[in-house]
Amino acid sequence: MNGRNVFAVFAKELKDALRDRRTLFSTLIIPTFVIPLLSFGTLGLGSKMVAKARDQKPVVMIVGGDDAPQVAASLAKLGRFEIVPPRAGHEQLIADKVVGAVLLLPADFAAALRLGEVPRATILHYEGELRSGFAADELERFVREFREQQIAATLEAKGLPLRTVRPFELARRNVAPPEKVGGNLLGGFVPYLIIVLCFTGAMYPAIDVTAGEKERGTMETLLCSPAARVEIVLGKFLLVLTGSLTSMALSLGSMGATAMVTGALMHGGAEATVAGAGAGGGSGYVPMIAPLGLLGVLALVLPVAVLFSALEFTIALFARSTKEAQSYLGPLMLVVLMPAIVGMLPGIDLNTTLAFVPLLNLSLACKEMLSGVWHWPYLAIIFFSTCLYAAGALALAVRMFNREDVIFRT
């Protein structure tokens, strides 16, 4: 094999691709600008909406409790709620988003308390509606505090200390380091993103250098040269791989940079990380990704990118036209995504069998590595098995390129 020919084909394909607006758009512009803008734009918009909903005073209504005006008075005293007077059709009012939540009390609520009965307070809300959810949460917190006050008053009246009903305090504290939290939160999402980016990054170049060449009539011109078929395949394949890796690197880099800027803006910069934006939610806690884990992910991604590039090259080569190639590769995206989605499901852990399942193994291993967990034997199986699959896919590409019925299928 002549390496000079491989490089000549690659250099020509690269020059050709850099002059093609469609390739530039799909490989450079979309991953660098569009995907981060869309991701963080959507995330930012969502965060803004949530923050806005959270900042607004929940609109609530108290229905019943005619003999317990102190409930409404306590609620009003807090100043956290906008209380609307009770009126009929409160369920419809919640559905119409006029009221966020309604506190339903029996008409003789205070009397029942005095008699030692256990009256029921019910909070009505609209499941799935953000503002209604916030209103219900706040209302529930108020009712719990109110109940605590009632208990304290009752105990005090009977000369009993509060510890009679609360013998000990309960607290919850996170012991997971930030990178573990980040790994668990983002471990499923990052490989999903990488798989999508690797696949889409390879798609257009693969189509252009195969079905595109057939369509434009340049394939036969190239075959007239003394370059061996395997040299042509490798040169073209390297371009597809470059497209795949470039697209992924640009997208991840751009998303990382956007996340860092967003994180810096949100948390004053000190704790901002790739994982910072959005992942911390409203808790003020910023999860991180283990940097070594990220490196490990990138090492495992390389053979996957080779596998995708070779497969997409082979499939696109079979097609007569770019349109036909797109119709093959488009649906394949869904097939490729399935293992990544399965990997995100809780309860599925890496084992020897799953370490041989392509893509699913990457997904599961990424989750672990980003959490700082390194199962070396599994990682070795994943790396070498994926390399083997990638080599098989590349061999298939060469074989297909040598088939006259494929190469002259126009």
Binding site: K12, D16, D20, R216, G217, T218, C224, S225, P226
Partner: protein, 247 residues
Amino acid sequence: MIEARHLSKTFADRKRGTIHAVQDVSFQVEPGQIYGLLGANGAGKTTTLRLLATLLRPSSGTAVIGGHDVGTAPEAVRRQVGFLAASTALYGRLTAREMIAYFGRLHGLAEPEIAQRTTRLAAELEMDDFLDRRCDSLSTGMKQKTSIARTLIHDPAVMIFDEPTLGLDVMAARAVLRFVRDCRARGKTVIYSTHVMSEVEKVCDRVGIIHGGRLLAEGTLAELAARTGQRDMEEIFVQLVTAEVAA
């Protein structure tokens, strides 16, 4: 030199079964000679030439080009061949100069040599005005000149032309025919396929008439005329094909 020895090519087609595109074709072309392969559309001309250019592998038989067998040394064969066909298009996003240089590199030429040969070819083919323009912006004639330069960059001993004037206007077609004659004058072995009778009369030293994948007859124009009793190339062709169909 080109020597086709009992070349055959079959294709499997799901609808039509086995197609015998080329059957037992043998001929020989000497250096400094233009061999015309004359046939109607679908006669087997392109398949024969693709076999010679090693784009396809023979089902049986073989061909030897410049001492190399198409079956066992395809790369060595392609190093000696310049193949120009209506189906060999140019890369639209490359300039004419880049296109020529790319094929120079694939033929193993060094960069200074490529530059030197490109300059010479551009002068010979009057390409200086558009040498640095992208191929997708060139006229049909300019494209054909670029294709010719692409086939000549490695100075091949054998030239294979598959209907090179297809779709060209009169002036561009004349330029191509002039170039084909130049190749003969330079001692190259030339094979020229066409279905245009007048082109055969103008440029070919020997003619092979192909029909249904079979070589029906071959010889000089005078030999074919004597054999059929016809003087006009079209009449010669029609008589030979009609006789074959009747048989």
